[in-house]
Amino acid sequence: MDLSVQIGSLRLTNPLIAASGCFGYGVEYADSVDLSSLGGVAVKGLFLNPREGHPPPRIVETPAGMLNAIGLQGIGVHRFIREKMPELRARRATVVVNICGSTLDEYVELARILSDVEGVGALELNISCPNIKEGGITFGCSLTGTYDVVNGVRKVTRLPIIPKLTPNVTDVASFARASEDAGADAVSLVNTFLAMAIDVETRRPKLSNIVGGLSGPAIRPIAVRMVYECRQMVKIPIVGMGGIADARDVLEFMLAGATAVQVGTANFVDPFIWTKLLAGLEDYMARHQVARITDLIGALDTGAREKEWTSS
């Protein structure tokens, strides 16, 4: 049974990637989870410089979902390379570095710096974080902004680059297309949905930042639709995510057109989810006699239904 998938020049042993911002820098989980057993580890979004992020409350639970407004707290790229990369290399993790800039130049600079770092497997361009004002999502909500960031980064790196798309747009597939045109190796989607929750007793927003990003099972049906739309529009691989909580959900994204998936919120609920997901995929492949998991990518059958009945 072959679970490996390919994202540009990067081969993943399986399609399961820990989603950025939901797995710390990976090292936090290194004692509980065999990092090398994951397809990849997307580390928390990095700016050039350290950031403190937003004041708490930073998360709030909603029906089958959660809002977050972390505000991209992080140690910055230099400390990341110094303090975290050695352990990630030692644990043989396939590292996807999620980068975020306030300006186009910052993305390019980050890409340049990371291109020389041993053990970095791919760059995920976070142009879709709904929680910060500067940069990020302003690129992700504009087709030319998206094109420019991808194109700028493309010029300075041979690492696979994966722009991460926001779902807060009318036509996400056009952003996938702009990314492809600009030379992206893949696109990943979705980042979180801009959302809010109010404490009616105090009449205040439940998050200090007023708005935050919705993730978790609640958004899965929208995310699957978006992956499906992008699949019709681009040829490059799609990394799908949004609410994956079991192996069936992984398969749903893959059938809709994803080559690999990321798991975010569900890791909070179950840090040991990875072996369960892998077992579920293997069980499915065995039951359905699927030799290579790549055979499932985009294998959604939209034809007519057969009719048959048993005395069930």
Binding site: E28, P57, R58, I59, N68, I70, G216, P217, F268, P271
Partner: protein
């Protein structure tokens, strides 16, 4: 290393209309847990509620030979998951992940003062047991809204803990907040007497305790309660400002750097 157990409920003892003690069969967690550590609990299947909830390890259960068999949590009903824990039936399985977080220092300089506000009592049963085994002299400053919300007094008394109680309505102990007697005790004690203060409760109380201890020039450890999404350092939801080497406050994840911090490390808001 934390483990995840589908722990059967052994017992659910109601202490009041809001508080209960839930006993869970989780030997693997119980064997590792140290005072001040916590578990992340999820009640029920399905995605609503979605996230786990943090609870201090209250007591360690042991069989006749002393082998850990499970743990209890002291639960206060405040919302969805705590209500389900209040109503949990024996036999029901509850997903329990732990132990997590940095424990209290169990090596106090002679005397241990524990300061508990309401459900903040939770980490002190286990701490008292461990310190009792070490022969440490202990005092518990314990404040609640009213007499009916002061629990486990006999338990602490049996361990030789001196009890100083306060209630907001004056129905038992001193009327007012727990920091009042704490301040007085500090004043009454020679500055050289070796006391380590531990506090758990609402954040305002922790800040006040830290202030009182600092003023008396005593060390203190506080266990903070921030909203936690994961308990493992994954989400950055649980941060608290801690003074860094540069003297500036930096947001630090209380689930892995805490929940226990030196009182003077935290930059109280």
């Amino acid at each position: 290393m934390p483990i995840d157990v589908e722990a059967p409920v052994i017992d659910n003892r109601r202490l009041s209309g809001e508080y209960n003690v839930l006993a869970l069969a989780a030997p693997g967690i119980a064997a590792q847990a140290r005072p001040g550590q916590f578990v992340m609990v999820k009640v029920g299947h399905g995605h609503d509620p979605l996230l786990r909830r943090p609870f201090s390890v209250f007591e360690i259960l042991r069989d006749a030979s002393g082998t850990p068999t499970g743990l209890t949590i002291l639960n206060k009903q405040v919302g969805v998951s705590t209500s389900r824990l209040f109503d949990a039936a024996p036999g029901q399985r509850i997903s329990c992940l732990g132990p997590l977080g940095k424990p209290f220092t169990v090596d106090p300089p002679g005397e241990a003062w524990m300061v508990a506000g309401g459900v903040g009592l939770a980490p002190f049963a286990l701490l008292a047991e461990v310190l009792h085994a070490r022969g440490t002299a202990m005092t518990l400053f314990y404040g609640a809204r009213k007499a009916g919300e002061l629990f486990y007094l006999d338990f602490f008394a049996q361990l030789g803990v001196r009890l100083i109680l306060t209630t907001e309505d004056g129905s038992r102990g001193e009327r007012g907040r727990v920091t009042g007697p704490l301040e007085r005790e500090f004043a009454a004690r020679p500055a050289s007497a070796p006391v380590l203060t531990y506090a758990c409760g609402p954040e305002g109380m922790l800040a006040a305790v830290a202030r009182v201890a600092a003023r008396a020039d005593r060390p203190c450890e506080v266990s903070v309660e921030r909203v936690m999404g994961c308990g493992m350092g994954g989400c950055y939801s649980c941060v608290i400002p801690v003074r860094g080497d540069d003297g500036q406050p930096h947001n630090v994840r209380s689930c892995i750097a805490g929940p226990v911090f030196a009182g003077d490390a935290i930059v109280w808001e």
